[in-house]
Amino acid sequence: MSFPPPGRDFYGRLPFDPMVPPPKPARVREVTGGTRKNRAATEKARKYQREEVVELARRRHLLDVDDLEGEEMEHILETARSFSEVMRRPIKKVPSLRGKTVVNLFYEPSTRTRLSFEVAAKRLSADVLNFTASTSSVEKGESLKDTALTLRAMGVDAVIVRHPAAGAPWLLRRWLDVCVINAGDGMHAHPTQALLDLFTMRERLGGLEGRTIAYVGDILHSRVARSGFKACLAMGMRVIAVAPPTLLPSFVPPGVEVQHDLDEVLPRCDVLYILRIQKERQTEGRFPSLQEYVSLYQLNMERLGKARPGVLVMHPGPMNRGVEIASEVADAPHAAITSQVAAGVAVRMAVLFLLLGSGEGGV
């Protein structure tokens, strides 16, 4: 069982309101009338929902957002909201994952994602081990498989993996019998980023259905865009991909609108999601010069002026100020970039909590 029984909180003592009752699936909301028939339907749906939640814990992995059914995504976001309240308390630590060991297995340099997972795990009282490629036996040529077997032998409970090669978390899942959480694999997926982005957008915009988000920049090489597209489409958002054709895939997933002119798109968007541009894309011949990219695609104050008044500006970090985003924009009230970081901790707490459960003995 992964979440506290009704009426108990993470401490097992006080009622923890935001958690109880767990969120209702959308289809239940339509039938919460007073008739007996409806009550029966509600009961059935609750039971179903309970099974869903158990399913999430049983699955034990979060590799990409499409692992999650609609209700599960909702459940993570609701749980994250409870945790963001925990984070406003003077004492931010809860004992939910006491005795659990979580490994941060990072094969790629990363500050914020690794720290975010570390803080999340520590606030849940898990023990956290950090394994980074530069300080480990990776340099001596140990394979991913051998590292996986080592971690398995050590009896860790969860592995959070960041890897430059797409699919590495899938390989780990095959070799490990513990929870695997994808913290970004190559150009492929970054599910916790997508979830924290949804969380941030919901906090700032309210409902997401029918809202429009434009992803701007190097979509072809972006795991943030890949997972983000799926998450936003699942929430009923309209997704626009804005980039020069050389930074777009030859195949664009159904439901995603492609545009090359940022200025034309601006007035239609509720969210402008700016992607980091890597300088080596220029030497690869993806665009002629940084200067040209900046003048055509940088989100600057002038462009922000053409956008909707309440537009939300997001960026997965780390930012190249002055390249894909102008410094003043990054610091403008429209920018949700620091909210994204805060949301990251709450969402990762929720993911760890729901995947690792609270142990056989309860909390």
Binding site: S143, G167, P249, F251, V252
Partner: protein, 435 residues
């Protein structure tokens, strides 16, 4: 050795255009009698009723890894795998270390293969010295050597320099050699892992566009047409490549082409869980490409099935998809997989499948008896296989003779099996209990 009588098999021999239930007698390494109701007295009799007898297969494209990577495959393990798969002759590719770019090296391989007495070896020599794509290798001397090399390729790397390709095509005309093109433009496929498109997007891997193959196919067809030389296109994988070959053949260009079992059976969507066993070059393509390849094979636009057998060590293949080498092993699974997926599903009839495994590839190389292709005829060397089309079994890569375990068909339930292989009249493979 007593005379061997194979009784009651359906004899399918594309070389004589024969498809008839017959008895075949083998003695002193040769077929000595073909007929009906032949007496079994004094002969070792193999009852092959309900089975199929055909000439041994020829595989135009295998990697035997010798010299250089004997941990992955050796002549012995590779040729053992060949005869278990029904191949009594194979062409080994020159991307070894050192590369097969000179006469002594190819001669040495052929002589050692002969001593093993398993399958015949027809090495493919390098087009350029050291496979570096600059100066021509000594193709004439390799052809004159005991290895009798007649096909040349810088396999694994395409020939980027169109000028070199042109000169190679012109040069081999002197002895009616054939240049085998590995059609890949390295700039277009740079860093690619899977077919570019829906799957490369979904998997977050760099794509290899169909175009990387097609621009080279187009170029080489033009060069072959202009020079009048013989061109063979290795492992075609896209529908547009097939269309270009079909048109070129209609124009009279001297071109032949091959396709692998995996490109005929698997699509990009079969890649599961980033398992590098599905990582091949050219990559697995789309359903439409597979349909077109199948049609072309049935029509004869594609002349041969070749396995591109490429063994890799497990420590090289059990890694992240990006870091794994390209290639699958294929000789021991080729016939059963093709029989199950193409013949039993009505895509291709059995006679045509056997044709693409025997006389098709023989024509590509221009091989004639006694080197290869005597068929099931009196006086021909007894290089024969017996196929059991009813036998149902599960492919187990761990029971292969090949050292490679990287088989995408591992665990597949198949129907059809090579139950007996004769090389020069000698039993080199026999499924005990089945035959």
């Amino acid at each position: 050795m007593p005379e061997l009588l194979i009784r009651g098999a359906r004899v399918i021999d594309p070389f004589q255009e024969l498809d008839e239930v017959l008895d075949v007698v083998v003695a002193r390494g040769r077929v000595v009698e073909v007929g009906k109701d032949l007496p079994g007295k004094g002969r070792e009799v193999i009852e092959a009723e309900g089975k199929v007898l055909s000439p041994g297969f020829l595989d135009l494209h295998v990697h035997l890894r010798e010299p250089g990577r004997e941990d992955e495959e050796t002549l012995r393990s590779g040729l053992e795998a060949a005869v278990r798969g029904g191949f009594t002759a194979v062409c080994c590719m020159p991307n070894t270390e050192p590369p097969l770019d000179n006469a002594p090296l190819v001669e040495d391989l052929v002589l050692r293969a002969r001593e093993l007495g398993l399958a015949d070896l027809f090495p493919v020599g390098c087009v350029s010295q050291g496979r570096k794509g600059r100066e021509l290798a000594e193709m004439g001397l390799m052809h004159r050597s005991q290895a009798r090399v007649r096909a040349f390729s810088d396999d694994g790397d395409g020939i980027a320099d169109a000028g070199l390709m042109r000169r190679a095509l012109e040069y081999v005309k002197a002895f009616d050699g054939v240049v085998v093109s590995h059609p890949e433009d390295a700039d277009l496929s740079l860093g690619g892992q899977v077919n570019e498109g829906e799957v490369s997007w979904a998997m977050g891997l760099r794509g290899i566009p169909a175009l990387a193959e097609e621009v080279i196919v187009a170029r080489d067809l033009l060069l072959a047409e202009e020079t009048g030389a013989r061109l063979h296109l290795a492992h075609l994988s896209t529908a547009r490549s097939v269309r270009m070959v079909r048109e070129a053949k209609a124009r009279g260009v001297r071109v032949t082409a091959e396709v692998t079992p995996h490109h005929l059976v698997l699509t990009e969507k079969d890649i599961r869980d980033y398992d590098p066993v599905f990582k091949v070059n050219p990559p697995l393509r789309t359903r439409q490409d597979v349909e077109e390849l199948r049609r072309a094979l049935a029509e004869g636009v594609i002349d041969a099935v070749a396995t591109d057998h490429a063994p890799h060590s497990p420590e090289e293949k059990e890694v992240e998809f990006d870091y794994a080498p390209f290639g699958v092993v294929g000789m021991e699974s080729a016939f059963p997989v093709l029989h199950t997926e193409l013949v039993e599903k009505g895509v291709l009839d059995l006679v045509r499948l056997i044709t693409r495994l025997t006389s098709g590839p023989a024509r590509v190389l221009g091989l004639r008896p006694p080197e290869y292709g005597g068929g099931v005829a009196v006086g021909a060397r007894a290089d024969l296989v017996v196929l059991d089309l009813e036998s149902e079994w599960t492919i187990d890569a761990y029971s292969f003779a090949s050292r490679g375990r990287n088989c995408p068909f591992h665990g597949w339930r198949v129907r059809g099996r090579v139950v007996l292989t004769l090389k020069g009249g000698r039993v080199v493979h026999r499924m005990e209990g089945v035959l």
